[in-house]
Symmetry: C2
Subunit: 279 residues, 2 copies
């Protein structure tokens, strides 16, 4: 991995890296915020998975996480949302499919399967790479994300028991099997067999017995994608209630789907993860 940028923020460094990804078979870009504490000791990491259309840049610029990460002594890892490049399949006329819309799955269908292996990338390749090259405590990580990335955070934690200390999400796509975005993209990335989809659906995973210690979700009640039936937090809550999975979904009155919503509550989430990461 090659460092291509370093910007000081809140006493730490917001660095950007590029590397040739084995999982995605292309050059990938990601950012890591290293808090001031990382100059003297290894620190735990929070992985932040971004939503549709984002790169590694959106959250690092707009979420305001670095201030709280610096306070808590936690690194924040910002992966990209899909493989990239001219040789990578894309659907440029759609924001919800192709580049910028990897949905954190391992695609099995052509033309997507050659590069769209974001599940392996985020859960295996990227942590191995950065734990070897940066001052991070190996194996001590948590995961959060927004919208498509909230879905990503939930499935990463649910599918990898013990790998993540804690999981939270902002306005996640809780049940892609039942949402327009999910049905369409999962069909193209994973094929027609819906049982393959369920392996990447947080609500289905909980219904099938997957467990984590706890789940924290913030959801704005003025979120257009909530009204639109893309997010479906009620389905997740029902599955959690039925299965005895602890889950706190905070409906935040008046908030929308934007980074202004994330910035309003990111401090709570960083604090929440810090309790797990530092215990």
């Amino acid at each position: 991995m090659k460092q291509i940028e370093s910007v000081k923020e809140c006493g730490g460094y917001l660095n950007r890296y590029r590397h040739d990804s084995r999982a995605c078979q292309c050059e990938m870009t990601f950012s890591v915020y290293l808090p001031p504490q990382a100059a003297a000791e290894k620190v735990p990491a929070l992985y932040w998975l971004s939503g549709l259309t984002c790169t590694d840049d959106n959250a690092r610029t707009k979420a305001g996480a670095q201030r709280f990460a610096a306070k808590q002594g936690i690194a924040v890892v910002f992966p990209d949302t899909s493989p990239r490049g001219e040789q990578v399949a894309d659907q440029p006329d759609r924001y919800d499919l192709g580049q910028g819309a990897g949905f954190y799955v391992n695609a099995t269908q052509q033309p997507w399967s050659s590069h769209y292996q974001m599940y392996d990338y985020v859960n295996s390749e990227l942590p191995e790479l950065i734990e070897q090259n940066l001052p991070l405590v190996a194996g001590v990580k948590s995961v959060s994300g927004h919208s498509m990335g909230g879905h990503g955070a939930l499935i990463c934690a649910l599918k990898n028991p013990g790998a993540y200390r804690s999981v939270s999400a902002f306005a996640p796509i809780c049940n892609p099997l039942a949402s327009g975005w999910g049905q369409d993209c999962f069909g193209l990335y994973l094929g027609k067999d819906r049982s393959a989809w369920a392996a990447y659906d947080a609500t289905s995973l909980i219904e099938s017995g997957a467990r984590v210690d706890d789940i924290l979700i913030d959801q704005g009640d003025a979120d257009e994608f909530l009204d639109d039936g893309q997010l479906l937090p009620d389905n997740l809550q029902a599955a959690c209630d039925a299965q005895g999975q602890p889950c706190t979904i905070r409906m935040q009155p008046g908030y929308d789907h934007s980074y202004h919503f994330i910035a309003s509550f990111i401090g709570d989430h960083i604090e929440y993860h810090a309790r797990y990461l530092k215990s």
Copy 2:
């Protein structure tokens, strides 16, 4: 003025407005963050003047001011950086002249003088407009800004004794008469007579006896425009020292010119202004 957007953030509302500007003779867009306290009472306002290439959007998205403004009960006003529109003179091949680069002066030279009256816009027209239409305490305001907007903040405060309770800046252009950006733009906006330039130069204003209670400046020592001689904080400090003008310039080691630098110290500045605005 017409509200064109409203986004909830940190309990308050980040609103965007459009209006026909008398000063700039074009339609202008600006944003105002109203903290939660503004729902019940009038609040004082901090005007934030942005830098070259910015609109009202950059600081509201990247500076992280809203969290602190909400805590302190202060509105933040984000004006645009120049007049806009097809009928407005521009130099599209330059980022430092024309639209996005108004330098907060009243231009006297054609083709700029028809619309580039940002000094009157920011100091008179905009405050009158929003104090009439929003829950703001009339006449209780402070000013801050970044780079070209830091220059703007300094001259607004220095040229209007008593109008602003306090002034601060991030990496301001402290002495445009002696910097490349300033010499070039002031020549075009204000003509060849350098005495006209001095009326919009913070260092010259202080040398000529202008005074404010205090000045707070943060400046990154890894700022490329500092090395480039565009910002010249030493000139301002020397003028302040010679004239007995209180001025604290904090050289921040390792920080650059970006919004990541601003986000690192915006909390200090909001707190600084709150002390004046609420006393």
